[in-house]
Symmetry: C2
Subunit: 318 residues, 2 copies
């Protein structure tokens, strides 16, 4: 067994896609040296409860309690409360399990008691025994709004209620101008030996994090430490609607397309062997290119990619 | 099968004790002619959720979904969310089942959306198929505070958390001076052919209802229509801590003791045969006395008492 690398890592993450890599990292490194900065643009208030899907997906995954088949929620979950909420005429398009509800109730009550979203997230990950710090991108709400063929939709309405069937015309992060990075976010980027951009949707998982004033700038200032794992392989999303959304917005739904979005703050762009032909074009954007297997179907794949990323040489100063 | 009496009934009710009689009434009369005025002094906010125990006990009982062994909550309930709330460091002395949580989430969200407690209660009973109207005593919070040997306790803390072990020194209904009867409460009393005071704790189930300005006065004005079922039989509570609380407050924990508390607004006081010897003393308070079996161990007993009450002659005008 190789010894665990002693690098301090900051990971920039969405939900299900990111959690595959994060689980690999959590297992191959000292998890106390890992800080995860999580998208909260997906957050939504339903039934008066503040729901932070990506924070919960990351936390449940690293706690080892996630429903691995779905990638979210508790394993062996029941949905008794949701069934009764529906009987009371409340919307039930967003799945809320009974155990999961405790998280939302606790977070909502914590906020009502004057705590911040960061403090609530920290109490949840500690209660669930997660050893890595999990930070929301911001303590203030920055809901992602999809301007679509059906009008403006909250991202969860677009993703879950409308099952990505509406055509995307634009993406906005409401109130992002006045949002500030949550405490510790900029410091985690600055202090990290390596910053990993997880293979998440560049538009609506990484995009909202980059849009919080100060975060993209901090990444740029640490560009040689930034390693971005491309979420598109062979022109298809590893997970979710990235490819479709990129295409509907007139962008290039390829590794190169993602590279263009990340070129200003990324030192090393990591692509799958399937996209090796795009290496030269990506290099021309001013980044190193690393070719690593990025499709993570098993825990072994997740560990392998994590180890590979930690072993890459740092990018040359630019 | 005798035909169902066509009397309009208003019932003044607490929780578990009252629900036995209410279930009997619901079955032997046209439930559309029954209006139930329920104690909300027991209401409490836990984990940010507004919980109305007596409203829910009555509603679940009449909906046929109550856990009959406990007298509250859903039958076949699970407690997954509560277990996780406890893991997050939240108090778990108050049992909240997963299905039951849907009721509290719906009520809390309804209030946040600008609805009244009455409107929330009505939506819940309608969703659960209850044909009788269920009204909170008031739409504003009137928490029952027990001044005890351990200092002031919310009634639920006294009852559930401290299991009635603190010595009662006094009872207060906070903010009751400014509370008003919920819409329909006074009208239900006025319009009823018969008003039943259910066999509930006189101090902390019926007491809070009587304390809402206007309700006791309306009962007095309709005294001859008021039939009160004594919750104390042979010096013991049928249910709960009534006897102990009466004794600790220096009051008579007997049928006569309860009769004294109700004499100003009750036309007919209903006692169990076990207390027949107190008939003359109760009559001397200015009420008719009816002797009926009031111990309801089976559904047949509940129906029998309900039928007996509906068959009693009205009290003479006083």
């Amino acid at each position: 067994m190789p010894s665990k690398p002693k690098l301090k890592i900051a990971a920039v993450a969405g939900g299900v896609g990111a959690s595959k890599l994060l689980l690999g990292l959590y297992e191959v490194m000292d998890p106390g040296l890992l800080t995860i900065i999580v998208n909260t643009g997906d957050d939504i208030v339903l039934h008066g409860l503040k729901i932070s899907p990506d924070l919960d997906i990351v936390t449940y995954t690293l706690a080892g309690i996630v429903d691995a088949a779905k990638g979210w929620g508790f394993r062996g979950e029941t949905f008794h409360a949701l069934k009764h909420l529906a009987a009371y005429g409340r919307p039930n398009w967003f799945n809320l399990g009974d155990r999961d509800l405790a998280t939302h109730i606790h977070r909502t009550a914590s906020l009502a008691e004057g705590k911040t979203l960061s403090e609530a997230a920290d109490s949840i990950r500690l209660a669930l025994g997660v050893k890595s710090r999990i930070l929301p991108m911001s303590d203030s709400p920055v809901p992602t709004i999809i301007d679509s063929s059906e009008g403006p939709l909250h991202f969860q309405e677009y993703l879950v209620k409308r099952r990505t069937e509406a055509v995307v015309k634009g993406i906005r992060f409401a109130s992002v101008e006045s949002a500030r990075p949550a405490p510790g976010v900029l410091e985690a980027i600055r202090d990290a030996d390596r910053i990993l951009i997880c293979p998440s949707n560049p538009l609506i998982s990484i995009g909202p994090i980059l849009a919080v004033p100060g975060i993209r700038e901090e990444l740029r200032a640490n560009k040689e430490k930034v390693f971005a794992v491309c979420p598109i392989v062979g022109g298809k999303s590893l997970k979710g609607p990235s490819d479709k959304m990129l295409a509907q917005l007139g962008r290039d739904s390829s590794a190169l397309g993602v590279a263009k979005l990340y070129a200003d703050f990324t030192g090393t762009f990591v692509i799958d062997p399937a996209d090796k032909s795009q290496s030269a074009a990506i290099s021309a954007l001013g980044m190193q290119v690393a070719v690593l297997p990025t499709v993570m179907k098993t825990l072994a794949h997740k560990r392998k990619l994590a180890r590979d990323l930690l072993s890459l040489p740092p990018a040359l100063p630019l």
